[in-house]
Subunit: 418 residues, 2 copies
């Protein structure tokens, strides 16, 4: 079977399984999740053996240390996968939930019911834990899924797929509800994003290059974010202690995450006072600073920021800094150069806080909090399949609800339209 | 300026106006709507003169009677447009609404705020009232819009555009918040659906051919529905009076609407009893019936339905009828042949009603009600920009909320991530 044919077979099977998953009851879905968790713990040794195969191949292919690190399945990672499934089992089932049921003058009662999207295609890099997390979220939300992980993790993904199928079948659910693409042929991705008859939404997780290519080529809507150019704006009415704490955390808590601050905006009225203290924090942690002209007048030692810097997600210990006139200028900068991901204002001024909240056009807008909070677990979603900075459908951290949709339900008593 | 250049200019202006619209307060948006309504009433004679120009040109071009009818702007239509705007002014402002604000263990308070989508491109046929309805909905929902109406209505649309701009400016809002494409060059549509940098969503309203072409070519997400192959399933536990009333209304209330029943499914156990009574109703109204073999055994005079009939939206006094074994078979037929628009079951059986509600994968699912209720006004949305049978974002009738999105808001007190 060639790759295109294989993918169409997976698609047909997924569509069929999605019908069964949509009507599966909560108990069966939870049982499947718990059975998979148990199987993962039971087969820990076999999983590590499969992972060792992947690692050997990766080393032979000269993969770099960071990639090898992400690919490695430690005992702790195995336990975390199992625990993650058990946590998903404990979340409320979003499917079938009805809301806003109201009687209309015609006599009908109208409301909405939460339903699965259908078939989710997930494209991700060589991280075996994503296979299990994504499978768990799709099972709980009543969707079928086709998982296309990085080819470097193929042996491990195959082993995990077998355990997922075992759990599904043990709970009386269709084994095809979760299918791992078992070919490393790159054409599989192209096929997956070109069958809207079988796949309702694509969730790509990976670098900007992958996402950009998928955006150009996909014939299926995607839940995705391209990059996180996040800002903190320190207003001249900021509490300086809060500002220092938040600016420190937003940049240095982790450098490689999408909700890390990449550009710091400082109000002119507080810049002379705040910037030296901020620079001290960043210098101590060896964060490279790049500033606008006004910033460099206060911090003369630092590099000049170029126009390009304002549009760059460094994912590294580098920070661009701009002195702005006021909250209006900060909002204008963010809406022009940002990536509509996560932006925060530090201020004690009531009106400016509300203005920033309303006018910044990003998936997460914060007052007096670190951008690092933009996360499904921190927001209380219980799980996260990714973060979206699109405006349609899900926006911001995407949990179970983002994998669902609302249909209208009408309870009538024989009513007809006049 | 060539058409492509013109459209990019409109796009840039719309994007800029959308920033002002997003922060416009409720009073200004309502004032604009009321000023436009007043201007439409004041300029009724001028609008009719412009419409007369369009009608002359349309007659000269040999347009058919149905199109001429839709194009005609009567006194009543003018008053309806003005009233529509006044109704939209009375609806609650969805923008800025915050919901689900909850404290998290970290100390932050997380919730969601409803915000505009940004710039809406609307592509529609030669119906001048759509220009005003769409402008009104976009203004109220804080969006900017680019309206591309059918070229046959160009004189009237230009006249309406001037009144809309007058109202926007009178309320201190940017005139570019509503822009009517003032060229009849067909390339304008191609340009409009190819500038994702300026347009956030396309709402196409028109025939299946137009929508299919836009689906293939658009680089921007769309809120749309392709067709309405709606079903009523008469269960063997149906109340026959309700069944007759609903089946009559769903088919014959209006033949050309997307929520009209196109296929009737009847349970085997009630077919012999119900079908002759149903046929009597349809025969009296000269509805052509096409049946499956079992239907024709009961109604021997009627035409045989082909496989193609189950997939056809007639938009005409034609109805296909199929006898099915039970509710499972009905659901399977609907999920296979339907268009995920609107489907209804007639039954007094509690479990089957709930099963149908849950398992039919359509934008509107009903029990004991006519499919004709699938409508923004009937659902209490107060207005309707269209009906969507996609699963992402808006599903079913789309009102003001469908033109908005939810962003996360975080109220902090200096919290940082641990």
């Amino acid at each position: 079977m060639d790759t295109n044919e294989l993918m169409h077979t997976l698609g047909r099977q997924a569509r069929s399984a999605s019908r069964a998953m949509a009507k599966a009851d909560t108990a069966a879905k939870n049982q499947a999740l718990l059975l998979i968790a148990a199987a993962i713990r039971r087969e820990a040794a076999a999983l590590k053996a499969a992972n060792a195969q992947d690692l050997d191949a990766a080393r032979a292919n000269g993969l770099d240390a960071a990639l090898l690190d992400r690919l490695t399945l430690s005992d702790k990672a195995i336990e975390t996968m199992a625990l993650g499934l058990e946590q998903i089992a404990q979340l409320p089932d979003p499917i079938g939930e009805m809301s806003n049921l109201k009687y209309r003058p015609s006599g009908i009662q109208v409301g909405q019911m939460r339903v699965p999207l259908g078939v989710i295609g997930i494209i991700y890099e060589a991280r075996p834990n994503v296979t299990v997390d994504a499978a768990g979220l799709c099972i709980k939300s009543g969707n079928a899924t086709i998982l296309r992980g990085g080819s470097e993790a193929i042996a491990c993904n195959r082993a995990l797929a077998a355990l997922v199928k075992e759990g599904l079948q043990g709970a009386g659910l269709p084994a095809d509800a979760v299918q791992v693409v078992e070919t490393t042929d790159r054409a599989a991705v192209g096929a997956l994003i070109s069958m809207p008859e079988y796949v309702d939404v694509i969730v790509p997780r990976g670098g900007k290059g992958l996402i950009e290519r998928l955006m150009r080529e996909s014939k299926i809507p995607m839940i995705k974010h391209l990059d996180g150019i996040c800002h903190v704006y320190v207003d001249d009415k900021a509490d300086l202690d809060k500002a220092l704490r938040i600016c420190n955390n937003a940049k240095t808590h982790r450098y490689g995450t999408c909700n890390t601050m990449e550009t710091l905006l400082v109000a002119e009225g507080i810049a002379t006072h705040a910037l030296p203290k901020l620079a001290e924090i960043y210098n101590a942690k060896q964060v490279e600073l790049r500033g606008c002209e006004k910033t460099r007048a206060i911090l003369p030692g630092i590099k000049a920021a170029t126009e390009e810097d304002w549009r760059t997600e460094y994912l590294a210990p580098i920070l661009s800094i701009k002195v702005v006139a006021d909250v209006d200028a900060a909002i204008a900068h963010i809406n022009t150069y940002g990536s509509a991901h996560t932006d925060s204002i530090v201020t004690e001024d009531y009106s400016r806080a509300l203005q920033f909240m309303r006018e910044v056009d990003s998936a997460s807008v914060m007052v007096n909090a670190s951008t690092r909070f933009a996360d499904g677990f921190e927001y209380g979603l219980g799980a996260e399949i990714g973060i979206s900075n699109d405006k349609l459908h899900a926006r911001g951290p995407v949990g179970l609800e983002g994998l669902t949709s609302l249909k209208y339900v009408v309870f009538g008593h024989g009513e007809v339209r006049q």
